[in-house]
Symmetry: C2
Subunit: 227 residues, 2 copies
Amino acid sequence: MASEMTGQAGRRTLATISRQSLHGEIVTRLRDMIIEGDLQPGERIYENQLGEELGVSRTPLREALKFLASEGLVELVPSRGAVVKRFSAKDVEDMLIVLRSMEMLAGRIACTEASNEGIAQIRSLHDAMVKHYHAGERLEYYKLNQQIHTGIVALANNSPLAEVHGLLQSRVKRVRFIGHEGAERWAGAVAEHGRIIAALEARDAETLARELDVHLANGWERVKSVV
Amino acid sequence: MASEMTGQAGRRTLATISRQSLHGEIVTRLRDMIIEGDLQPGERIYENQLGEELGVSRTPLREALKFLASEGLVELVPSRGAVVKRFSAKDVEDMLIVLRSMEMLAGRIACTEASNEGIAQIRSLHDAMVKHYHAGERLEYYKLNQQIHTGIVALANNSPLAEVHGLLQSRVKRVRFIGHEGAERWAGAVAEHGRIIAALEARDAETLARELDVHLANGWERVKSVV
DNA sequence: ATTCGTAATACTGTATACAAAATACTTGCA
DNA sequence: TGCAAGTATTTTGTATACAGTATTACGAAT
């Protein structure tokens, strides 16, 4: 009796937020919950429970889980439902290797394909990020950092590349979000970013690729201890 | 009344084939149907019709569609269901650029990571492929060709890389499957493969990467006319 | 006390039913 | 005849119901 109320109320709330279909809403909602650690790695997902929590029935929730399973954020065990996927240190290292390669590729392409406005936008993101660095605002810094990397990939104007890059980035995001580097490493990362932006503005593909290479290799060193 | 029978019969038949869950079956089934052109690009998918055709109800079918949507093989239009995704020439070119980069990366890693047995397996696949080439058996040749490329990626022992590679390969497969090159280009492709295998056996990372580079660049030239 | 077996319970997998949206059709009117 | 509006039908989206499977708890036997 109470469940009907809960369901209706929840449904209304979610529908009001956006025009997307319900399973789409749930996908983004669950993705955030997983990335932010609201759902722990290895944790089993009980459809009834989670559905009631979100105020939706099992049907769209299950559809969302299938979607996330294809993204690799949850694992589907036959007859035993979904669990939040847990990544090993090697998994994360492997992902970062691929991410590094993809960003290098994107950087090279961007040097010839990107518009001046696009590069200028990256520059302004970078400047804002540096300001947050000096202010010691780690969360804001982190968000802009992500945006810059995603933005460089976007400059390559290659949607499959951007898509796949986003896929892997959403997986490591969970790990990186937790990892907070020390002050000296943080400073190093900012310096690397400066050289990256400079190479991009000079449209120097090889230098940009090299700088991205070392930056992302160092990124792995920075995060390794956390995993 | 007939629908019940159909549903039951279909269910039983599929369940007998394998132990996987039904939506998993449907995913692989639909993926094949899309790749083999059984479902045309741009074609709208009517859930009732397709479900009856496969002998399943809408629920697992919809779950399968969500999975394939995340894979990028179908597109989900809100309130209007699923359509088979259609790729532009640029899309395919972009995918091949990424595939090329990933295979080069995989090749480089494989030169240090692969076991001797793994390399020997690729060699035997190659030899079998050459035999099919001389016999003029295009379909068998094509299948082994795919297996070799997938196999080289597998040698890198990097599962995210293999996963992403497979994702993009399944998309271009549809296109490549249609494209049949002329005799002279076919011969060129076989020769390139020979050099690739040789470099792999020599564990010469740079040569292997270079050979994969030209091979896959040529591959795009070969398929371009079709798209 | 431990282990095996059985029953109870809980959860997933699939089908069906109902509601809302979109599409197609028909009828009325200019 | 052409267009428009309203209705009918089809189709998607969501919820619920039912069936099958795994897990757990409890009891009996060694």
